[in-house]
């Protein structure tokens, strides 16, 4: 072994060796520094007369990071300090995303609960000038349009997925795959404009109806159904198909009797999630369905005059109640918030159902 004295590298190594058991900040120091930073920040801002929650937390976070970096550099070294700050920042991003979600859910729940009553679900806004009334017509409108969109989209989407997995090849498969991608990216407002243009040209200018809304929603829903179903059907192992062919079963019967039953839970889950995605759509319905205070159950553009048969959906109802309130304003805002609460609940429940179906009824495929 070369002597450390005349080998600078060995000397450096020797130094590193001492540092193998380098300093380490105790675990409680992080929370402790954060509390101190909060107190200092609140005090400073208070003395300046500029106290505010956001400002306090923001200042505290900055102070915390600076203090921890300095402390950690001194005790643990620069590299450990950087690692520590990176860890805090990454945890911070998650909390940063959590904050608006919690704030939003709290706001929607606390404001929405005020009118979350039986009347809200049983009566319309027909002849309601101030308080009272409900959104029954809007809820029914949403159910009708979403239901129609689902009826249009599921067969087309599912069969397209079957085509892409089981039959498609060559240019047509590539083109359709590409177009499904394009469709996924269509902004919802553009889908609304399309449905409006289509109905306008076919029925008459300015026509508004539930059908037009359902068409717009279908344009948005079809690509989701295709994608979800395609992904699931692709998971069905080829050996199942081959086993079926081996028994002399024709291809279409194999698809219907083997492939689809195997993937049915995934397909159902995908459809439920797709519904959850479109049921809160507002923009396209704002353009295509018009707005009414009364119950409309006929989605066709024929009932009313001039081919206008407006139908209200819940999101549009929320939008107008909030943006065009009458007197007393509170009554309108409360109705808007309850609508928002109902929407959020519907979407959450659909999401949970979707996930639950996928997990509960998933066939055990050996991948």
């Amino acid at each position: 072994m070369s002597t450390p004295a005349n080998d600078p590298r060995a000397a450096a190594q020797h130094e590193a060796e001492i540092h193998l058991t380098a300093g380490q900040l105790p675990g409680y120091i992080g929370p402790a520094v954060f509390v101190v930073a909060l107190v200092v920040s609140a005090t400073v801002l208070g003395l300046l007369g500029a106290f505010g929650w956001i400002a306090t937390v923001l200042l505290a976070v900055i102070g915390f990071l600076v203090a921890m970096f300095a402390l950690s550099t001194a005790v643990e070294g620069r590299r450990r300090a950087v690692d520590r700050i990176a860890r805090y920042l990454i945890l911070g991003t998650f909390l940063l995303a959590l904050a608006p979600l919690l704030s939003l859910l709290f706001k929607v729940a606390s404001e929405g609960i005020i009118r979350f009553d039986v009347t809200y679900f049983t009566s319309t806004k027909r002849n309601v000038i101030g308080a009272g009334g409900g959104a029954a017509h809007a809820i029914i409108g949403t159910l009708i349009t979403t239901g129609m969109a689902t009826v249009f989209s599921v067969p087309v989407g599912l069969l397209t997925a079957i085509y892409l997995v089981e039959y498609g090849k060559g240019w047509m498969k590539r083109v359709i795959t590409f177009l499904v991608d394009v469709m996924t990216g269509i902004p919802s407002i553009v889908a609304g404009l399309f449905a409006y243009s289509l109905i306008s040209l076919m029925v008459g200018h300015g026509s508004k109806s539930g059908l037009a809304g359902a068409l717009a929603l279908s344009v948005l829903m079809i690509p989701y159904v295709v994608r979800n179903s395609e992904e699931i059907i692709r998971l069905v192992p080829d050996k199942l198909r081959e086993a079926s062919y081996g028994l002399g079963v024709s291809k279409w019967r194999t698809i219907v009797k083997v492939v689809l039953p195997t993937s049915v839970s995934g397909i159902v889950s995908g459809v439920v999630l797709a519904i959850a995605r479109i049921i809160g759509e507002t923009a396209p319905l704002l353009i295509t369905m018009g707005f009414t205070a009364s119950m409309t159950t006929n989605p066709l553009p024929t009932g009313g005059s001039n081919m206008v048969n407006p139908m209200t959906s819940l999101p549009v109802f929320v939008f107008y109640e909030y943006t065009r309130p009458g007197r007393p304003q509170e009554a309108f805002l409360d109705r808007a918030w309850t609508g928002a609460l109902v929407l959020v609940l519907i979407v959450m429940v659909l999401n949970l159902i979707g996930r639950w179906v996928a997990r509960k009824y998933a066939p055990k495929i050996n991948r």
Binding site: Q13, H19, L20, T21, G23, R80
Partner: protein, 259 residues
């Protein structure tokens, strides 16, 4: 460099499962120590515990002591990052960083500690490390080519160059040749011979001929049955292990009766 390692009553757990029981041994500096034994006997687990890579597996836990010269690397307040700077590791699959050039791969460890090193010094390290890994002549004209464009054997030697660039005290090798063809294997084995002049080398291998070719001392690990912990059955000079083992299990293993 080149330090002695000593394992004292090492027990290793994965959750509640005891994977390795009561291993004690001394690994001499500037020598090659081989760990052999059937699959699942815990030899790789022991190896990974020597530079604290094991704790990256969730639930893995180590009891006992691992001394690097006099320091216990499992003592409280020891920073695993610093341990790994002194104890390098080469893996079963060659794993150069695909996004880096050959040169940057070699410097990957250096750059963590001393960012602002003069270029000449870096060039020197690259050349020394690649020469140390017997790769210099093959790649000196394309140091800026991507590291994963090399052949498997070259990639593995690049990984060795990367590991020795930071001048570790100990070099751990986890079946370094199992993914290589025979020619590359020979090249790496030759390299291991040379490496022991400067480093303490510990190698895990499935290949008994390899152990007998490259190592000075050999440890034989075994398990009694599935679900039981692995133990160090015998640890002795390689020659002794392969010619006249003291334990019957060792003899049965090296004569190919099981494993």
């Amino acid at each position: 460099m080149a330090k002695r390692m000593e394992l004292k009553n090492l027990n290793i757990f994965y959750g509640d499962f005891k994977a390795v029981e009561n291993v004690s041994m001394v690994i001499e500096p500037r020598s090659v120590t081989a760990f052999i034994g059937p699959s699942g006997c815990g030899k790789s687990t022991v190896l990974r515990s020597l530079d604290r890579m094991l704790e990256l597996t969730s639930g893995a836990r180590v009891e006992g002591q691992v001394l690097l010269d006099e320091q216990d690397i499992y003592a409280p307040r020891v920073d695993p990052v610093r341990v790994r700077q002194q104890i390098g590791m080469v893996f079963q699959q060659p794993n150069p960083f695909p996004t880096m050039s050959i040169r940057d791969n070699v410097l990957a460890g250096i750059q963590l500690n001393s960012r602002r090193m003069p270029k000449a010094r870096k060039d020197e390290i690259v050349e020394r490390s690649l020469k140390g890994a017997n790769l210099w002549n093959e790649v000196k004209d394309r140091l800026n080519a991507p590291g994963n464009g090399l052949s498997g054997g070259q990639q593995q030697r690049l990984c060795i160059a990367r590991a020795i660039a930071i001048q570790p005290e100990v070099l751990l090798m986890d079946e370094p040749c199992s993914a290589l063809d025979p020619v590359s294997t020979l090249a790496v084995e030759d390299l291991i011979h040379e490496l022991k002049e400067n480093y303490t080398v510990v190698i895990v291998t499935h290949n008994m001929q390899q152990a007998s070719r490259v190592s000075d001392k050999t440890g034989f690990f075994n398990i009694k049955g599935t679900g039981t912990p692995g133990r160090l059955i015998e640890f002795d000079a390689t020659e002794k292990i392969f010619t006249n083992p003291s334990e019957q299990d060792t003899e049965r293993y090296i004569t190919g009766q099981f494993g």
